[in-house]
């Protein structure tokens, strides 16, 4: 948890957890779970939603990025996902984890907003901002090129296959949860995953020619 997220949570728990504050226990502050934050948000505490955003923004952004393959669109989609989540917050019943519910919102935003056309992926120089310790520059460039090629290929998959691939491969959701998010059967999810991998192989072969 980042320092700014912690400070935000400190502000949120102040009215309810005076004892925890007095003891200075950061552990008590982290006990603010998503469901509590949702409740606070529905009670009119907008700072609670800020905390939810800070907790989940990276995962939501990653889903969106993998969907579209570029930062600008991913940022817009992620923002839209959070806005839609806020508007629909009263429909969150706690039957699943808040993060799963949020994935559902984000995936639906992506499925609805992303056209069937190939998304515009970024040029290599704008894609990478991370270095691996001890890696030679040549190797870094090679790794980044491979990663960019794979992301571009994923962004070209049919939408449902793309969503299945992203949720399964990168967010490690079980097939059952993916089925719930996509509103399909577990069998369909497995079939989508199979075809996503098979199509990804073809796309990677095409791009290597």
């Amino acid at each position: 948890m980042s320092a700014d997220a912690l400070s935000l949570q400190q502000r949120l728990v102040r009215p309810a957890s005076a004892a925890a504050r007095r003891s200075g226990s950061a552990l008590a502050m982290t006990a603010e779970d998503d469901a509590t934050l949702v409740e606070q948000c529905l009670a009119g505490n907008s700072a609670a939603f800020d905390a939810l955003v800070e907790r989940h923004r990276r995962q939501v952004y990653h889903v969106c990025y993998r969907f579209v393959g570029n930062h600008e669109d991913a940022s817009d989609l992620a923002q839209d996902a959070f806005l839609r989540a806020y508007r629909a917050l009263h429909t969150f019943k706690g039957n699943s984890a808040f993060g799963t519910w949020l994935y559902r919102v984000a995936v639906n935003v992506c499925l609805n907003r992303v056209s069937g056309k190939q998304p515009a992926t970024e040029p290599l120089e704008r894609r990478e901002h991370q270095d691996v310790k001890g890696e030679s520059p040549d190797r870094t460039i090679l790794r980044q090129e491979r990663a960019a090629t794979v992301r571009a290929a994923i962004a070209r998959l049919p939408k449902k296959q793309r969503a299945t691939m992203i949720l399964r491969m990168y967010h490690e959701l079980p097939h059952e949860e993916i089925a719930a998010i996509l509103g399909s059967s577990v069998g369909a999810v497995k079939a989508n995953f199979f075809h996503a991998l098979a199509n990804l192989k073809k796309l990677l072969q095409e791009s290597s020619r």
């Binding site: 700014d4 948000c41 529905l42 009119g44 907008s46 939603f49 800020d50 955003v53 800070e54 923004r57 990276r58 952004y61 990653h62 990025y65 993998r66 930062h71 940022s75 992620a78 923002q79 959070f82 806005l83 806020y86 508007r87 629909a88 917050l89 009263h90 429909t91 894609r127 990478e128 901002h129 991370q130 790794r143 491979r146 990663a147 960019a148 794979v150 992301r151 994923i154 691939m165 491969m169 990168y170 097939h175 069998g187 497995k190 079939a191 995953f193 199979f194 075809h195 991998l197 098979a198 990804l200 192989k201 990677l204």
Partner: protein, 209 residues
């Protein structure tokens, strides 16, 4: 869905094999079948290549800006579920009563066909100027607009969301309440207002029962 023991693995079984959850009997086939083994390995390699394609970390200032943008967008929104939340207190049973009263009024012409009119239906809430009562030639819309009794019903119902009411078990077609009440006589509207007034005096009656 399992294939016959001797048949090649189906798509969902290949996914199960990748997940390590393949049925033991089918695992025997996979071990013995070069074709299926090669297919599983081929897709496993694609999966491993895809798994290494991380989302590039956005610029450091991005997250702060992102949260600020979401927070700003959310600030322009009403509190989620506010339209529904206001019914959670004393208004909720009153709203339920209003919905039931509309249904009751719809049935009233049938029920009162063989009954004498109510002896006393006047109240401070429902009293209308004599000139506005029972003008069969008047404009029903203008009459209803000026009707204090109807104003109570309208004020209670105008912010209702059809989906939310449906979720609460109060099912009606959008506009049906308006359709029903437009057809009410002055006496019937007075009776509806009387029922509502009684309910508003004792808003917790539903909760207690």
């Amino acid at each position: 869905m399992n294939s016959p023991a001797g048949a090649h693995l189906a798509e969902d079984e290949i996914v199960d094999a990748l997940d390590g959850t393949l049925d033991a009997a089918r695992l025997v086939h996979l071990t013995a079948c070069e074709s299926c083994s090669a297919r599983v390995e081929e897709l496993r390699d694609i999966g491993l290549a895809a798994a290494g394609a991380d989302v590039p970390e956005p610029p450091p200032f991005f997250w702060t800006q992102f949260s600020a943008r979401v927070s700003s967008a959310v600030a322009a929104e009403p509190v989620p579920g506010r339209r529904f939340a206001w019914m959670h207190g004393w208004m909720r049973p009153a709203m339920t009563a209003a919905a039931l009263a509309v249904v009751a009024i719809a049935l009233m012409p049938i029920m009162t066909r063989n009954s004498p009119p109510p002896s006393d239906t006047t109240s401070s809430l429902t009293a209308l100027p004599a000139t506005e009562i029972a003008d069969p030639d008047g404009d029903v819309f203008a009459e209803i607009d000026q009707d204090e009794a109807w104003a109570v019903v309208r004020a209670l119902a105008e912010d209702l969301d059809h989906d939310e009411m449906d979720a609460e078990g109060v099912s009606a077609q959008p506009g049906s309440a308006e359709h029903l009440t437009l057809g009410l006589s002055e006496t019937e509207r007075v009776e509806l207002a009387h029922l509502l007034q009684e309910r508003l005096k004792d808003p917790l009656a539903d909760s207690a029962s």
